[in-house]
Symmetry: C2
Subunit: 340 residues, 2 copies
């Protein structure tokens, strides 16, 4: 079964490229509100499940024990750009637990913005593991280690006590047994488990409605959601989709991107979870689709705060290097039913 | 008609993402030697037609007039990384014609490598138009302007005498009328015209066989081909596909990438042109497919020079940020017929 074309990329009069994918919108009881494409095909949710991976950090009491607020809690489920505040906060989280960046298992990569790369260049430094977009999540894992009294070494392995909790939370939230036959290794060296868009969407509907969750878990989920809404910068960074969308929409939505064209949303006022996967892994497509879905589900109109920003995310221009608009990224009619 | 899946990207036991596309392999007489997917659908060839766009630079006598050698000629059809030698050569080409980078119409962007970005950062500079990956091509246009006695201003417009020659060469080589209904604007601000993979492949078969070309054009094409083979670094840059493949294979092939998942090759010893377009525009897929096709068409075996390099390009690993292999990019059986 071919998934439908969800996004077209135009240049002048021609559709130059296009992206296929699948979308599931599910409520807390697991009812499918909208589906497009093969929503049963498992794929890795990658960083889109960071809110689930951060549950143990809250449930273990680690966040409270170290006196963390919204900024640290948001960073514990971030794919951040390694801007100075991200890096400083991740370092401070590790220091609070008596650890340092040498404990991080994620590999190094450059900060996302040229300005921040330039700062490293001018200091003659290379990026470190603290600059990895997942360093806040890993700092959360390490803080959880300390609170659990576990050896921090090997925390990234499936058999480590902390990772066992993280994996169990993912399996429970998505209703998908997390066995080795669906296990890969994520870019930050921890296990990732393939789940279907439908199961992933249901997980985020549970996350935001609390349906079927223990009181402890429901509280942890709510605290994560509100931390992201309070500190949208910490979730991603300057100019990034998740930061822009949550800044535009306040605490109406939690949105989280994942590598290889995954995106999730959890919408409190509607009690819905959204999950999508672009077949080819393109972020430009996953972003446009998610923006369009949020506009449609929230029935945003030009009078609403955040409409212009979301519209810009749903229908961005294609530009020359000189800055002239020569095409656009646009969502197709395959998403029309979302407004239904 | 859905194009076949040409490339799979795996992570652990799962195909995480996949890429569809079309491939045409054509001989100098226009006979289709191999086809996969919809090879009649027009799309923009982008930088993959730079060898055609550089023909006027040779045919006008500009390259000879300014005493240019293989390095400058290769750079005139490059998508370079703005490494120091690229930038210096583009500047020298402009200076030879009495011009400077202020004449360039292409917009600025950062060099491709962190090392070269760092050099700009350390000097407190921003990238300029000379760093645009197309600056060598534009320098060639401007040199052609001077030789033709045309005003360099507006050289990027379709109605300028130089661009008219460039457009006419593209139309002639591909046998595709270059009218406004298939015209978009490329990233470097010049017109780009949508052509089918089949027409594009035929154009590169003509380029390398000379079938149907005037003697002047055939000489220009041969000089471009040999310049690229002699200076593969100038075509792209350190670690880049075109540079690696032409270094590995010497003058057996001309290969050239284009944005949005386009790739071409021209194979002298077989008299064949190859053109492919990945539906979603992914370079990782266009590269793997082109490498596999070159291995198969040239019947490379582990004993051949260049085999290991081409195999690495055809089947690259997916790695974590820590450098561990956790998956692979692989070409599917849709390309099996190429060896036939």
């Amino acid at each position: 079964m071919e998934n439908p074309v969800l996004v077209e990329v135009t240049r002048g009069p021609i559709v130059e490229s296009f992206h296929r994918g699948s979308v599931a919108i599910v409520d807390g009881d697991g009812r499918l509100v909208f589906g497009a494409g093969d929503i049963e095909r498992p794929s890795f949710p990658r960083s889109a499940v960071k809110p689930f991976q951060a549950l143990s950090f809250l449930e273990s009491g680690a966040a409270d024990r170290f006196g963390f607020g919204d900024a640290e809690i948001a960073l514990s489920m971030a794919s951040h750009s390694a801007e100075p505040r991200h890096v400083e906060t991740a370092r401070a989280m590790l220091a609070a637990a008596g650890l340092d960046e040498g404990c991080l298992a994620c590999g190094p990569h450059w900060p996302g913005r040229h300005d921040d790369q330039g700062e490293l260049h001018r200091r003659g430094e290379k990026p470190g593991r603290i600059h990895n977009n997942c360093s806040g999540k890993h700092a959360g894992f390490l803080c959880t280690c300390v609170v659990m009294g576990a050896d921090p070494r090997g925390y990234e392995k499936a058999e480590h006590p902390v990772m066992r909790e993280v994996i169990a939370a993912g399996a429970s939230m998505t209703g998908t047994p997390h066995a080795t036959d669906i296990c890969g290794t994520d870019g930050c060296s921890i296990p990732t488990f393939a789940v279907s868009p439908r199961a992933l969407a249901h997980g985020f509907a549970r996350f935001v409605t609390g349906v079927g969750l223990t009181a402890t878990r429901a509280r942890a989920a709510e605290r994560l959601r509100l931390a992201a809404a309070a500190e949208p910068f910490m979730i991603a960074g300057t100019g990034r989709f998740c930061t822009r969308a949550m800044t535009a929409l306040g605490n109406r939505v939690l949105v989280k991107t994942g590598a290889e064209g995954v995106f999730i949303a959890a919408i409190k006022e509607l009690g819905l979870g959204v999950a999508l996967k672009i077949d080819d892994g393109a972020t430009r497509a996953s972003e446009a689709v998610m923006a369009r879905i949020l506009i449609d589900l929230l029935k945003l109109t030009p009078d609403d705060a955040g409409y212009a920003e979301m519209q810009d995310l749903a229908n961005p221009p294609v530009k020359t290097w000189a800055g002239d608009k020569v095409g656009e990224i646009r969502v197709t009619e395959a998403l029309d039913g979302v407004t239904g």
